[in-house]
Amino acid sequence: MLSQIFHDPLTLRVAQAIGAATFALVVAYVAQWSGIRLQRETIVALVRGISQIIIVGVLLTFVLGKAQWLSTFVLLGMMLAGAVIAAQRTKHIPGVMQVTLRAILLGSGLVIGIMVILGVIDTTVATLIPVGSMLIANAMNTTALALDRFRAEVEAHTGQIEAGLALGAAPNVVIAPYVHAAVQASLIPSVNNLRSLGIVWIPGVMAGMVLAGSNPIVAAIYQFVVVAMLFATAGTTALLCTLFVRSHAFSPAAQLVLRPDGLRPLLTIPGNSHTAGTQLSDTDNRAHGA
């Protein structure tokens, strides 16, 4: 319908975007009637989404055909942004930004690097940025899921964890079951993507290639390659982020600091042993044996 009204491709796409956004807003209004408050969040997300993707489009127009090293910077910028977004989701974990940044940088960086060396990903800007961004986005989602689950598991099992510590166990031992649960939970979407590939889900790359006129079989194989890379990224990132976050859950004296009540054990301040009791004299407060 729209293509009959608009003939210029850019105008047509803008009209399509308005159509899709209007429909999304209608859904948000319907949800509002059922008492689900989505309206504001949807508007913000829609505006944010369209602005971000247009900026990326402009950026891609600018970098396409330019020097390849530019794409490295674009990818690093995406990793940083991914780390910030993943950290916002799990900000109750002390020092979480360090965890998300290292996990996303290493997790997606490793897979992108290996795939470039193997020649699976072209080093052309036109391939590296879109494929790299998919891997980084997956690393970001995995990190957020793994950390959120880790936090929830730890907070739900504070008693068992402290009981283990009180029996002289090392933090790594008491935390192990919750680390496993977090890794498994964070990999569910990636495993599901692999399992449902083609049956319920023809993902973006294949859809794009087919729309652009590629041979569907070639498109399908490349899509499998991408989904397998997504899984590799998710697995690496999940393992790395749970490895890194362990040290943030405990103090150097093996005390659980990631607690639901926020009563985090304070670190020792050397030489303050009497400061908290200055208003009490020694004799007032000293209990000798009977």
Binding site: G159, A163, L165, A276
Partner: protein, 253 residues
């Protein structure tokens, strides 16, 4: 890093067991000005107390007074913001937290058992020290807490009282020098509470264990301990026989 900078420089800083001048018996555990504050709130305020070897000390006080916080500091589950603890005359900052915790056992309000069998729970502590309990040692521990023959039972099938007994056996398996009991019967129903209390009293006496027991039940304090301390708003307000402390407690505002 978290080591000897915390010395008071007092005479008991050596490794020699501290001798109490009043009784001549040795001191199993001593807290010196032990304190903890978080974001401006004082939870434990410079509590100094000595516990003799083989003594059972009741820790009483109104709810929210800081009794549990005090016990957690002794096990170093929380970090003190002031003061220290001497275990058999040694400053606990000189001990690795894991060694300290295997020597100072703690039984909490709830059993907090690990998924698995009773035997796996009971052998957990020694295993952390690289010791493996054989089945007869596990059976002996279970018999001690009245759960003979339950070694291979999955913990999900245990009643509240049974679970708390397993928790006690699990702590005793480490053969701790000092036992910290944080309201160990408060989460149980009346019958289980009495059973666990009787069991606890018998084990403490028979094994001549040193213990600190936090309780809100004054009658229980009187049944288990001879001496008690009263904590209010994080401060130690009274030390004495259980009766003296109970009288002081009833006079609290």
């Amino acid at each position: 890093m978290l080591t000897s900078t915390r010395h008071d420089g007092g005479p008991a800083a050596s490794h020699e067991p501290t001798m109490d001048p009043h009784s001549g018996r040795d001191v199993a555990l001593e807290t010196r000005h032990l304190s903890r504050s978080i974001t401006g709130k004082v939870l434990v305020n410079a509590i100094s107390v000595q516990v003799q070897r083989g003594e059972i000390l009741a820790v009483v006080g109104p709810s929210g007074a800081g009794k549990s916080s005090f016990l957690r500091l002794i096990n170093r589950l929380d970090e003190p913001t002031g003061g220290t603890v001497y275990l058999a005359g040694q400053d606990y900052y000189q001990l690795a937290p894991r060694e300290l915790r295997s020597r100072v056992g703690m039984v909490m309000q709830a059993a907090y058992l690990f998924p698995g069998t009773v035997a796996e729970n009971v052998s957990f502590g020694p295993r952390q020290q690289g010791k493996y309990l054989n089945p007869s040692e596990i059976d002996a521990l279970l018999e001690e807490v009245g759960l003979a023959g339950l070694a291979n039972q999955d913990v999900v099938h245990l009643s509240g009282g049974e679970a708390q007994r397993v928790s006690l056996a699990r702590t005793l398996a480490n053969q701790p020098e000092v036992l910290l009991l944080d309201e160990p019967t408060s989460a149980l129903d009346e019958r289980a509470e009495r059973e666990v209390e009787t069991l606890l009293t018998r084990i403490l006496r028979e094994q001549n264990l040193t213990a600190l027991i936090v309780t809100h039940d004054m009658a229980q304090a009187a049944r288990i301990a001879k001496r008690a301390i009263l904590i209010n708003a994080g401060r130690l307000v009274r030390v004495g026989t259980v009766q003296e402390v109970l009288n002081a407690e009833s006079n609290l505002p």
